[in-house]
């Protein structure tokens, strides 16, 4: 018996030591100012570059899941590839235009040939030079469905040929306004052919020409990148290390930012912004977003094959109330299907704004009396869907339509919608500049992400026209006519584009942010005061 007591006491000692041990180390170098000054751990420690904090730690909402650019297309992973790799052309976050990056210049020699002139002084992080072979290798691998999950995005490209060491030619089926922005996507980052040839290298996809190099991925804990010492460009990374830390609980992310454990908090909960705004050490940044949240209908089966019924539901939804209720006002309502901020965005059509009487009238026109119709609403769990769904349920109850809400994890929701089991569903779509991501991918017949199962030959033709029309003005007119047509057809009820909200250490410099969250942190660092 004494042994048990002794054991317990010993453990108590160890635990007490740990606890006070912990306290001593933080208190002596802990910050004195009130609130969460940057104190404790490696924070406030100077790196190799004077005046720059050694590490930049970014608190993200979920862990990365893939290190090979071509096997994924999640924003969480793409934000990492933005550090380690580069693409032929670079998408700017102000004018949404493509600017030179690994390609110096490019031009459509004719409707089916796009020729790139490459930079000549670039090299990969392991020192091997960058040339046309790498580009050809990268795109041939990307187009092969067996070796790349993003082959579908290059369906327009026939072949990629090397003209000379620093010139590459893309042969396409037809002219496309969107091909350039497709090539700017991080899944299509340029990989090193030499790395793949070297069979001893198990992870050749890690080698890139970016400002940082992958160091370590502790699953569920952190992903660490160190500065690429032989970066070819003239503006290398400032921070010695950039660490992405997955902190699933949003309230914990905010607390971590305030206590100085992280320097940037991605997606802080909207309702805690007021608390953050009062914190002297934190800057809360807010700008227009690019991700459109919508209520979609399955137009292929009862009851939502009936267009009037869809329009009735559209009139029952109060967008402003949803924005205030769910986003505390940090969002913009819209009527059209093209995300606000994308070229040719046109929102002046009459559409189906919030009008309960009109909704009831349309409902009876559609052939349903009040209280007769019961529909399923499929949503993914987690915010904001679990907040929007009850509101929609309530709006429809008011006009006499009963809604049953079914929750799924995200992947299951997508597969349910793809196989057409749903009647109504809540989803979102992030588009920065590519119209084909809307017209083709969302509304063209039988396209995998056309969860609306909407099929209209007119829309299919118009989508191709918009994609290939060279003349800017006609293309604008085409796009606006298509938007008016689609709003009338009402395969979905666009709700709002959520603002980008992000909170970070007030000394953060060199940020390069995008409304939809595909930020590029390769220039960012924390300046030491």
């Amino acid at each position: 018996m004494k042994r048990i007591l002794a054991m317990l006491l010993a453990l108590v000692m160890v635990f007490a030591l740990v606890a006070c041990g912990g306290n001593n180390s933080t208190t002596n170098n802990g910050g004195s100012t009130s609130g969460g000054s940057t104190s404790g751990g490696s924070k406030g420690e100077e790196g190799s570059i004077p005046g720059v904090q050694k590490t930049l730690t970014i608190g993200i909402a979920s862990d990365i899941n893939e290190l090979d650019p071509q096997q994924q297309n999640d924003q969480i992973n793409n934000n990492c590839f933005a550090l380690t790799h580069q693409t032929l052309v670079f998408l700017t976050n102000d004018t949404n235009e493509q600017v030179p990056c690994l390609a110096e210049s490019w031009e459509w020699t004719d409707d089916t040939h796009l020729v790139f002139k490459l930079v000549q002084n670039a090299c990969f992080s392991d020192g091997t030079p960058f040339n046309a072979d790498d580009v050809v290798f990268t795109y041939q691998k990307a187009m092969d469905p067996e070796r790349s999950a993003v082959a579908a995005t290059l369906s327009l490209v026939e072949s990629v040929n090397k003209i000379d060491d620093y010139t590459v030619e893309f042969v396409t089926k037809s002219y496309s306004n969107e091909l350039l922005s497709v090539l700017a996507g991080y899944p299509l980052s340029i990989l090193s052919k030499e790395a793949y040839d070297d069979t001893s290298n198990e992870q050749p996809y890690l080698i890139g020409t970016g400002r940082y190099v992958f160091k370590e991925w502790k699953e569920g804990q952190s992903v660490t990148f160190v500065r690429n010492e032989n970066f070819w460009g003239d503006d290398p990374g400032q921070a010695d290390e950039i660490i992405f830390k997955p902190i699933l609980e949003s309230a914990s992310r905010v607390a971590a930012l305030q206590s100085g454990d992280i320097d940037v908090c991605i997606d802080p909960p909207i309702n805690e912004l007021s608390i953050l705004q009062e914190d002297a050490n934190v800057t809360v940044h807010n700008q227009a977003g690019t991700r459109l949240f919508y209520l979609g209908f399955n137009c292929a089966k009862e009851p939502f094959d009936n267009q009037t019924l869809r329009q009735a539901i559209a009139c029952a939804i109060n967008r402003e109330e949803i924005i205030n209720g769910v986003l505390d006002g940090y969002g913009q309502p819209q009527t059209t299907v093209v995300n606000r901020g994308v070229w040719s965005f046109y929102d002046d059509m009459e559409g189906f704004d919030y009008d309960v009487d009109r909704a009831k009238q349309l409902l009876s026109e559609a052939g349903y009396s009040e209280g007769e119709l019961t529909v399923d609403l499929y949503i993914s769990n987690g915010s904001p869907y679990t907040s929007i769904a009850p509101m929609i349920q309530e709006y429809l109850r008011v006009i006499g339509v009963t809604v049953n809400i079914q929750q799924f994890d995200e992947a299951t929701l997508k597969s349910e919608c793809q196989s057409g089991n749903q009647q109504m569903f809540l989803w979102r779509w992030n588009v920065i500049d590519r119209l084909d991501e809307i017209y083709t991918e969302l509304f063209s017949t039988d396209y995998p992400t056309n969860y609306h199962h909407y099929s209209d030959s007119y829309v299919d033709e118009m989508a191709v026209k918009v994609l290939t029309e060279k003349d800017k003005d006609t293309r604008l007119q085409l796009s606006q006519d298509l938007q008016t047509y689609l709003v009338e057809a009402c395969p979905q009820v666009p709700l709002y584009v959520a603002d980008l909200v992000i909170a970070y250490n007030k000394n953060l410099q060199g940020t390069y942010l995008f409304g939809g969250g595909n930020h590029n942190w390769s220039w960012a660092y924390v300046a030491l005061d």
């Binding site: 018996m1 048990i4 579908a152 995005t153 914990s252 607390a255 799924f408 992947a411």
Partner: protein, 311 residues
């Protein structure tokens, strides 16, 4: 005694078989899009079908289960669909984290609840008894994610004594262990109290006092050792609960434990990871229960006698 331990270990094999069958069948029942979790949104249908074929998801349940068991027998638990890492390795990477958290939490719980249980037992039905009970209940009736957040806000944000989350050293362990520990304290306090109440009235306690033993020695040496049996049961039960039960606390403190691993892999239908980690949890659980039973024998000779002659 050794024969008994061997018998229990042997018995683990049918348990693992049964567990794997139940979980495999359960995940099959749970549905959800496995391939969807792995491929990006705009992957073509051909790519989906190719991957489904490659993973053999179209095969009938029996074939898939047999293939999984064949792998299991050779110690290969397959690769996680989500991260591509080996299931066993990921589990083993996270196991020490959970053991550290669970172990410290239990110590915290014991430090709080055993003396509190004895204190309330000695002052039965006085106000001390009720306040002690209310405090013990404080942990179990407050959801641990809320408790965790409160502790984090006070100690990490306001006072800045402790890191708010992460898992890089002992001082990261303090807040999560406290959160989980308070949750466990309630049952251990209650069990200690009712065990001590039973023990205090026993005749051998009077015998001990008549020998001239001090009040403290009578309670802690004679009383506690008899009361340890139900207490150890409670602790054993709690430990197995902590393994997968503290998922929410792990989420709040970003503590890479097994609870969170199971929590996330169920959510993303990562079948090999779910099946593998729960089987390993079950093995761990059997070992823990075996240890608890052995501690029984160490504590209560009457039960030891039962084991030895029962073989």
């Amino acid at each position: 005694m050794i024969r008994y331990v061997l018998k229990r270990l042997l018995f683990m094999i049918p348990t693992i078989l049964l567990t794997s069958l139940i979980i495999y069948w359960a995940m099959d029942l749970a549905g959800g899009d496995v391939v969807g979790n792995m491929l990006p949104e705009n992957a073509t249908q051909e790519q989906r079908d190719a991957l489904t074929e490659e993973l053999g998801l179209n095969d009938p349940f029996v074939v898939r289960y047999a293939r999984y068991m064949a792998g299991l027998v050779t110690g290969d638990m397959g690769v996680s669909y989500k991260t591509g890492k080996d299931v066993f390795k990921t589990f083993m990477e996270r196991l020490p984290m959970t053991l550290a958290l669970g172990g410290t939490a239990l110590i915290v719980a014991c430090i709080i609840s055993i003396p509190l249980g004895i204190y309330t037992a000695l002052n039965q039905n006085t106000w001390k008894d009720t306040t002690g009970m209310v405090f013990a209940l404080f942990g179990v009736s407050m959801p641990n994610f809320w408790l965790g957040l409160m502790l984090m806000l006070i100690f990490a944000v306001k006072l800045n004594w402790l890191p708010s989350q992460g898992a890089d050293g002992p001082k990261y362990l303090v807040l999560p262990a406290l959160t989980v520990g308070l949750g466990l304290a309630a049952l251990i306090t209650r069990t200690t109290r009712s065990a001590m109440l039973d023990v205090i009235r026993q005749d051998y306690m009077t015998t001990a006092k008549a020998k001239g033993a001090s009040h403290r020695r009578v309670i802690y040496y004679h009383g506690l050792k008899n009361a340890m049996i139900p207490i150890v049961t409670a602790i054993g039960m709690q430990f197995s609960l902590v393994m997968t039960g503290s998922a929410l606390a792990e989420v709040v403190f970003s503590w890479p434990g097994i609870g969170r691993l199971v929590f996330e892999s169920i959510d993303s239908r990562d079948i090999p990871m779910v099946t593998g980690s729960i089987i390993l949890c079950c093995v761990l659980m059997s070992i823990i229960n075996l240890i608890v039973d052995l501690i029984y024998a160490f504590l209560d000779p009457r039960i030891k006698a039962q084991y030895s002659n029962k073989g």
